[in-house]
């Protein structure tokens, strides 16, 4: 049994402790907003917050997340109210297929928590998620819009 706190709720999950956090979130907890893209921490589609830090959950054993505060994309909008990042994403009509966007939003939310007014250089160095549709122009626009909201 591994004890997890995800989006403020406790979950005791009966899994092999080496199971990646991503798959426990998706399969045992049943939250599918966190996506599988590569499994090797390259694409960032699986990004969640662990104790406030953006983490690629495909490459973190679930045992390492035990007892820590985990937030997934489903935990951002409290009571259905979108965060300013999500609002900016909708306003700029960022998502194309959208598959990578939950991970992108989690990475950006962590960045803005640390640097409320990031420069383009901050963005380039921090946001390394892959988007195959190519939404980067709108992603950058939306990050600045959220920072200034």
């Amino acid at each position: 049994m591994v004890a997890l706190t995800i989006n403020g709720q406790s979950h005791d999950v009966d899994v092999d402790p080496t199971t990646p956090l991503l798959w426990v979130i998706r399969e045992q907890v049943g939250l599918t907003g966190t996506k599988y893209g590569c499994g090797v921490a390259q694409c960032g589609a699986c990004t969640v917050h662990v104790d406030g830090q953006a983490v690629r959950s495909c490459s973190m054993p679930v045992s390492d997340a035990a007892g820590k505060k985990i937030t997934t994309i489903e935990g951002l909008a409290v009571g259905g109210k979108l965060t300013k990042v999500q609002e900016a994403w909708v306003a700029a009509d960022v998502p194309q297929c959208g598959y990578c966007q939950c991970g992108m939003i989690m990475a950006v939310s962590a960045l803005l928590a640390e640097k409320p007014k990031p420069t383009d250089k901050d963005i380039d160095e921090t946001i390394t998620n892959i988007c195959r549709c190519g939404t980067f122009q709108q992603v950058r626009e939306a990050i600045h819009a959220a920072a200034n909201a």
Binding site: Q42, I73, Q86, P95, Q96, C97, G98, T135
Partner: protein, 725 residues
């Protein structure tokens, strides 16, 4: 010409299977109402509910390209709907079979989603509006000509009465559907042509959107699969006992001759077990093939006697033989994989009475045909439910291998829903790859530096030889699609007028399975043609823009697009210090596109600062989504230019994840400025999703040459130790 025959294999399969299976032959009753039961349809495209909400029923797929939003805008425009009340749903392929393909083709590739359905969807919207207007006139007992419709409201001005669409929808649905209603002049568009936002953005930013990989059914088990890593190989043996006792594992099974799958409670358990499963492959005759051995075969084709002709004028060989000056270059283009963010997947539930599949697909009918073939059940016992895609780019249309696999696995466990999800590694190993191609380019000048002849010899792989061999039969062995952007006529026609021209193709088909990869053959053909045009201009000592302009006199729309980007990038004016410019253009998918790039090269690092792109698609249904498709296509295209090659070693693909098959990040993203210049008229509409992709790479490479004096002729750039800043 149209490269995709009307009666292709897919529609034949669907049609014949439907008849053979008894669907149409048994005369299944056509439902008088739509799939949601009591809510009536107004024609097949529009459902208006009593609460005034409008559901557009539409069969093309949504994979991020915005097609569904655009098509709904076209329907809503003619319907005079209230856009804020419009949503969409997909009629299932099963319903389409029962209703004689009432919604037309499901195929969402070849940039045809809007350009090949705009007329009939607009007619659908217009017919529904006429039915609503008639119903209101009947209700009010006034002449139909006195009723007007606007933003979901019907008005009889003389009596100052109004009704919303929802109030008369029921009565309207009982009226005959007008045939061939008149369409609005696009000048009068209020919804179409406007920058409407995509549907479902909120679901996408909150994690609510259900992709195929997320789909769940009660009692569902999870599967993952490995096919022979050597294309053409087979399963020799596997030791199921080694993993059968692992936690969660429910079944280890062979799938066809070529694959082995594990079914488990969770996907992660299935993956761990499959990774641990000893499998012995019969690797077959291709186990020694390498990228080098494939390159040798293509090189031979560059000088082969025989080749299929795609475009010809005058006598190019004679012009070259008698040239005062001759320029020659050989280019080559590698295998590349689609690598959409969501790996291939499908969920299947099979019983001897019914087989249903839920799948992110670019072509619901192709998926349906795969379900029929894999299940062995007739059409009236099969169904496909289309889910939105986590990227497609051509991988999820013509190819339905994952649907076949999911159904075959489900068939071994009747009644249990099975979700098959590939690992990223399987997705990379089992692609339908952008084909390899080389080109030998030879240009001839007279003594006054006029271009008198051009010979382009393509040597490489045909997609259609593998995917639609019947087209080659009609074409006496030729694959016309190979000549995209270079062909004599049609939607991908060549834009230059050169007195002596020969463009031919020595077909060389290695064992690696090829596929339609966003843009298809324009990716390499634009690089070959437009980089070599710069080489020719430079050999003639002429400005690259002026050199092209002289040859574009007969192709004013190409010229207009090229002029537009040249003007906006500031061609001919001094560039900022360290910045160098390049340009390129093409006609593809009936759109006229051009691009101009600004780059710098510092310490071996290439930085693309800015790309100006122009497109003339005849009509622009949603300029905001066109903007995004243009900029997005450059991410896909420049990622390929910079990083992407599927190397073949021992008959299989070497690069199995994004660590070795990289993709551009936000740091590398240039500023993209798009110019949308629809020229209107009654001609065919152009595509959006693919055409512009091809102009980024040659524009950037032409600018790179200006910066460095080095001409790169093989790709990706990482092979030349060029880093991307």
């Amino acid at each position: 010409m149209n490269f995709v025959p009307k009666m292709n294999r897919r529609s034949f399969l669907v049609g014949s299977a439907a008849v053979a299976g008894g669907g149409l032959a048994l005369g299944i009753d056509l439902p008088s109402a739509s799939a949601q039961g009591a809510t009536p349809e107004l024609g097949v495209w529009v459902v208006v509910k009593p609460d005034d909400s409008v559901v557009v029923r539409i069969v093309r797929a949504e994979m991020g390209q915005g097609t569904i939003t655009g098509l709904a805008q076209l329907v809503a425009e003619e319907l005079d709907a209230d856009w804020s009340k419009v949503s969409y749903e997909h009629p299932t392929p099963g319903e389409s079979v029962r209703r004689k393909r009432a919604w037309g083709s499901y195929s969402t590739g070849g940039s045809r989603g809007i350009r090949e359905s705009h007329e009939y969807v607009r007619q659908g919207g217009a017919a529904a509006r006429m039915m609503l207007v008639q119903a209101a006139a009947n209700e009010w007992k006034v002449p139909v000509g006195e009723v007007t419709a606007s933003a979901g409201v019907l008005t009889h001005k003389a009596s100052n009465r109004t009704l919303t669409y929802g109030k008369v929808a029921e009565a309207a649905s009982k009226l005959p559907v007008p045939e061939k209603p008149a369409l609005k002049d696009p000048k009068d568009w209020k919804i179409a042509g406007k920058p409407m936002k995509r549907f479902r953005a909120v679901d996408k930013v909150t994690g609510k959107q259900v992709y195929g990989a997320d789909f769940k059914l009660p009692g569902m088990l999870n599967a993952t699969i490995k096919e022979s890593p050597v294309f053409g190989g087979k399963v020799k043996s596997f030791d199921a006992a080694k993993v059968a006792g692992m936690k969660g594992v429910k079944k280890v099974l062979q799938v066809g001759d070529t694959g082995v799958a594990v079914v488990a409670d969770t996907w992660w358990q299935a993956k761990v077990a499959l990774d641990a499963l000893p499998i012995v492959w019969d690797e077959g005759p291709n186990a020694k093939v390498s990228s080098a051995s494939i390159a040798e075969i293509l090189k031979e084709g560059l000088n082969a006697e025989q080749a299929f002709v795609g475009n010809q004028a005058g006598d190019a060989k004679a012009a070259i033989a008698s040239a005062a000056k001759k320029i020659e270059a050989v280019y080559s283009y590698p295998y590349q994989n689609h690598a959409p963010m969501e790996p291939m997947n499908a969920t299947a539930r099979y019983t001897p009475e019914r087989c249903e599949v839920w799948v992110p697909t670019q072509d619901g009918e192709a998926s349906f045909a795969a379900v029929l073939a894999a299940s062995g059940l007739p059409a009236d016992k099969c169904e496909v439910h289309m889910l939105d895609l986590g990227g497609g780019f051509g991988r999820r249309g013509a190819f339905q291998d994952y649907v076949h696999q999911a159904v075959r696995i489900a068939k071994e466990m009747p009644g249990t829903p099975i979700k098959l999800l590939w690992s990223r590694e399987e997705d990379m190993a089992q692609g339908r790859y952008h084909p390899v191609m080389m080109a030998k380019m030879v240009g001839a000048f007279d003594k006054d530096n006029n271009l008198t002849g051009l010979h382009i010899r393509l040597s490489g792989q045909s997609i259609l030889a593998s995917v639609r061999p019947q087209v080659l039969e009609q074409e006496k062995g030729r694959d016309p699609l190979t000549f995209q952007g270079l062909f004599q006529t049609g939607e991908h026609s060549f834009s230059y007028t050169i007195p002596n021209l020969l463009i031919d193709h020595a077909m060389r088909n290695p064992h690696v399975p090829p596929g339609f990869w966003r843009g298809v053959n324009i990716n390499q053909n634009a690089i070959f043609m437009e980089c070599f045009m710069d080489e020719l201009a430079q050999a003639a000592g002429q400005d690259e823009l002026e050199f092209r302009r002289k040859l574009l006199g007969n192709h004013p729309r190409n010229l207009a697009a090229l002029n537009a980007v040249a003007e906006k990038i500031g061609w001919g004016k001094p560039a900022p210090a360290g910045i160098h410019r390049g340009l390129a253009h093409m006609k593809a998918f009936n759109a006229y596109v051009a691009g101009a790039a600004e780059v710098s090269v510092t310490g071996g690092k290439l930085k693309v600062h800015r790309i100006v792109a122009a497109t003339d698609p005849t009509f622009a249904v949603n300029p905001a989504q066109i903007d995004r498709q243009v900029a997005g296509s450059f991410v896909y295209g420049l990622s390929a230019l910079y990083y992407q090659e599927c190397t073949i070693k021992d008959g299989r693909v070497v690069e199995l994840n994004f660590d070795t098959y990289d993709s551009m990040r936000i740091a590398q993203m240039p500023k993209v400025e798009s110019i949308i210049m629809p020229s209107g008229g009654s001609g065919p509409w152009g595509g959006i999703g693919e055409p512009t992709i091809c102009v980024a790479a040659p524009a950037v490479m032409n600018a790179y040459f200006k910066a460095t004096g080095k001409r790169i002729r093989s790709f990706p750039l990482k092979n030349h130790d060029i880093a991307m800043a």
